[in-house]
Assembly symmetry: C2
Homo-oligomer: 387 residues x 2
């Protein structure tokens, strides 16, 4: 080792020794906090990781539950921190008190760290470094336990998907083409209710379930409302969070009661092919952007162009997938950004096609990247025409 | 007007003219975005208010739904902003593009504005001022429509509370004192399930419902788990969000199947008295800290001391209430901070007492401050001993 690199290493080791990871866990950072020390709370708390030491400052109200975390994390309340009355009332005061106790003068924080906190720390001479990647880079690689948790949420999603498809399959069709189920018009809201009850039975909850028929399905984020019709594709996108451990699942199917327009059927088969071929590319070392480009190419070769028409995007205009864990959308992204898949990643593969005149088609599964390919986390066959 | 104040006003008017309100609506700011322009989306977007003009930058995926907002808000996608390819991929790039289009060089942002965004804007010469109060100060005063929305969520909460109390009231007691309902042990989880289904029927969802019996109830944020027992107080705290308009309700009752310990009964009556007297103080002009102090005093005079014992807080150690709206916890706080109630505030009043050996008692209603007092938003009688 030459002198320059020795000096460089020494400087960086010194930096490493003094730079602690700080987390002010508001809603935005709840999943990082849960990952870092297992704590969940409705109130904001301060978490600091310094080497192998973990510190958590909680309001007195949270003390009892914080103490159940076990010996890994040292629990503080503001009263332990020798802070002024004013500091005792603010999260930046708690943070300053903790940093003084630990004799630290620099922290690294996430990109979304609250600006006012950063300024309050800086005005007291603390250096605040933004960490441009994940604060907890190991979060992207899931343990066996984490994969089990995601599988559990995914099984609930599959059960709910079966229930939703049952409603649509069993429905009759009235003269206007509306679906009728149990003597009532079958609406997006009704299907969503059946999905939600099925999820609750499995201790899962879904906030933004999509049941979007016909033209509504042409907007990938439209949740859907009102009557469902025969002969129109219905996008069902279910992404529940388990209320115990907090991990998510994510599945999408597109189904139809009745006969699809030939062009809609062609869309369905193109998306199904794109999804199958994208899945076949999933393995350690695969480049996420190449999977995304392949999906793009399969859809284009099937004749489905992507464009903006009258200000409305149509074709395939979202990413191919995303990581799933304690957040529903997390790293890695399967999109045009260059990332390499690794064993232990859990990702969705979800190509789609959207045209205002025809509706939307999307097919999505959640898979874990294994040593030599992928494992489907709770599979479910793909059927389009249900009745 | 003397010259100095004229100059001061001129400077501040100039500032007012150039300082726009910027919102990068991630999860933390979703309710502000909804308030400001009615838009909700799973993805982050950029919102800017400058005088009476409103601007929203959305990804192409959200364009269709954004355009349905109506003429009040000008909708942009990154492609409209003449930004570089690099800027097109980042929220700070979108923001810079919009600010250049509008010839603005300063913004005011919320306290929780993401630090990395602030630094990216500052490095391009934009002044970023943190707004120390609410970005949208009028949010605290609810319109008639907003109060109707909260009432709707609160009615759902009351319906769910009735259902929960029915389960507990109808339960039998086995030899170990466990509650038995429909031939099964009645657990916190089962009661929560019944609550959640009732809420779903009213298009509401609750994430953190508390059903905490016995010692579990002594921790105000413990959600509760496992069998419920006769003779132990059960804290039921239900705070649903309406899935349509996004407003919340909040109600707490404490109930018991069987005969309470005399000390628990005394706790109940002290909390009930504190809540009644606190409610009676609610009117425009009332000081929130005085209401909180009064609750403190009523409970102390009834002989219930607040302290920390073996590191665990006991007695009354949370605030008396909080504002309710598009967030479940928002301004004003009914606590030791000095705030004055105004007509149109919607607040909870929720005193409680917690002792590890006895359990917890909390009673909570949500009320709107009216011209001469308050309006209970969906009332419900207070009964402790159900069977």
């Amino acid at each position: 080792m030459d002198f320059l690199s020795w000096a460089w290493n020494k400087r960086n080791m010194a930096k490493k020794l003094t730079t602690a990871t700080l987390l002010v866990a508001t809603a935005e950072e709840a999943s990082n906090l849960r990952y870092a020390c297992g704590f969940t709370a409705p109130d904001a708390v301060v978490f600091l990781k310094h080497g192998s030491a973990r510190h958590l400052v909680v309001p007195p109200l949270e003390l009892g539950r914080a103490q159940q975390l076990g010996g890994q994390t040292r629990i503080w309340t503001p009263a332990d921190l020798d802070v002024s009355d004013h500091e005792r009332r603010t999260l930046s005061g708690w943070t300053l008190g903790l940093l003084r106790k630990l004799k630290l003068d620099a922290v690294q924080v996430s990109r979304t760290f609250p600006l006012h906190m950063a300024r309050a720390l800086e005005s007291e001479g603390i250096r605040v470094d933004v960490c441009d990647t994940s604060l907890f880079p190991k979060r992207v690689i899931k343990s066996e336990q984490e994969i089990d948790n995601i599988r559990e949420a995914q099984r609930a999603a599959v059960a709910a998907m079966r229930k939703a498809q049952q409603c649509i399959q069993q429905a009759n069709v009235d003269r206007q083409g509306k679906l009728i189920w149990k003597n009532k018009t079958l609406t997006s809201e009704r299907v969503r209710f059946e999905i939600d009850v099925t999820l609750l039975h499995r201790n899962c909850i879904a906030q933004e379930t999509i049941v979007a028929g016909g033209r509504q399905g042409a907007d990938p984020h439209e949740r859907g409302s009102g009557p469902l019709y025969a002969g129109q594709p219905i996008v069902l996108d279910i992404f529940p969070q388990h209320r115990g451990h907090g991990y998510w699942g994510d599945i999408t199917r597109t189904v139809i009661n009745g006969t699809p327009h030939p062009e809609v059927l062609r869309m369905y088969h193109a998306v199904k092919k794109a999804q199958r071929e994208a899945l076949a590319m999933v393995r350690p070392g695969a480049r996420a952007d190449r999977i995304h480009q392949h999906v793009d190419q399969v859809l284009k070769e099937a004749g489905f162009e992507t464009s903006v028409s009258n200000g409305v995007a149509q074709g395939f205009f979202h990413s191919t997938g995303h990581g799933v864990g304690l957040d529903i959308h997390e790293a890695p992204r399967i999109s045009s950004s260059r990332q390499t898949l690794k064993k232990g990643h859990v990702i969705t593969i979800e190509p789609g096609l959207y045209y205002p005149s025809l509706g939307g088609i999307r097919i999505e599964d959640t898979v874990a990247v294994t040593a030599d390919g992928f494992e489907m986390l709770a599979g479910m066959k793909k059927a389009f025409q249900l009745a």
